[in-house]
């Protein structure tokens, strides 16, 4: 299951608050590692580790130029993950709306004897 594999990586990458904050920042545009690291009190190796997870999950792309290696968001993967989660939510919202309707019916109609 190649598709599920990449999805799993994406969701894993997004499960961490620091990485989510980085993704949120990158939604505003390309940023350097220094800019991405600025809001966090974190060592450079830790920042690099987070960026590697994001890169491996296909969520960001890093430029080749110089030592800046600017980071850019790749929205396809983000959209894929958001759609997956949205489906999970929709599935259960749908189920529970059906259950609401059923519970209503059961409470307003006299219950049939079996």
């Amino acid at each position: 299951m190649v598709a599920a594999d990449s999805l799993s990586k994406t969701l894993f990458a997004l499960a961490d608050p620091t990485r989510r904050a980085m993704v949120a920042r990158l939604r505003e545009g390309t940023a350097t590692v220094k800019e991405l690291a600025a809001p966090f009190e974190m060592s450079a190796p830790s920042i690099t580790k987070h960026l590697k997870v994001l890169e491996r999950a296909g969520l960001i792309e890093r430029g080749r130029e110089a030592q800046w290696r600017p980071c850019t968001l790749r929205p396809e993967r983000l959209r894929e993950a958001a759609e997956w989660i949205e489906r999970f939510r929709e599935l259960w919202e749908g189920n529970f709306q059906s259950l609401d309707a059923l519970l209503d019916t059961l409470q307003t109609q006299p219950r049939k004897k079996k």
Partner: protein, 159 residues
């Protein structure tokens, strides 16, 4: 009336869904555990029906659900009951025939009486963090991605 659904992560391995229903606890319990009722609401939208719903509601007993789509597609799952407190709490394992997350999950369904209704909490405990994250990266409720317009709307409605 339809109440908001809350979905969140708990620790590294769990997802918790919470939803309120305007019905007495005993009735909600029946709706979750009696096949003739379950078949009327669980996963039966958008062309799906649930032709198989077998429930042996006792500790060590099994359950088996199969859904069928009008196109012919089928999806099955089942598990074993680990703990049952009538009208209140069910703990059971869950495994899909064609797994879409690795391993098995332990599902705890708890019903609590609240004013005018029942609060239903479903804890889904996965074997690995990867499996959990695959089912849901729940802190995503902070609104990442375009798919989240619906969520924003939901939050607005909760204010």
């Amino acid at each position: 009336m339809s109440h908001p659904l809350s979905i969140r992560a708990l620790g590294e391995l769990e997802i918790v869904m919470t939803r309120r229903f305007d019905a007495p606890r005993a009735l909600v319990f029946d709706a979750w555990t009696r096949p003739e009722l379950l078949k009327r609401w669980l996963g039966v939208r958008g062309g799906w029906t649930m032709p198989v719903c077998e429930i042996d509601l006792r500790v060590g007993g099994t359950y088996r659900y199969v859904w069928r789509h009008e196109s012919g597609a089928e999806m099955g799952m089942g598990g074993v009951y680990r703990e049952i407190v009538a009208g209140k709490r069910i703990v059971a394992t869950e495994r899909f025939d064609s797994p879409w997350y690795p391993g098995e999950a332990l599902i705890t369904n708890e019903l609590e009486e609240i004013a005018g209704g029942t609060l239903c909490s479903v804890h889904m405990l996965y074997e690995t963090k990867e499996a959990r994250d695959m089912v849901l990266a729940s802190p995503m409720e902070s609104g990442i991605g375009e798919g989240y317009a619906a969520l924003d709307k939901l939050f607005e409605s909760m204010v």
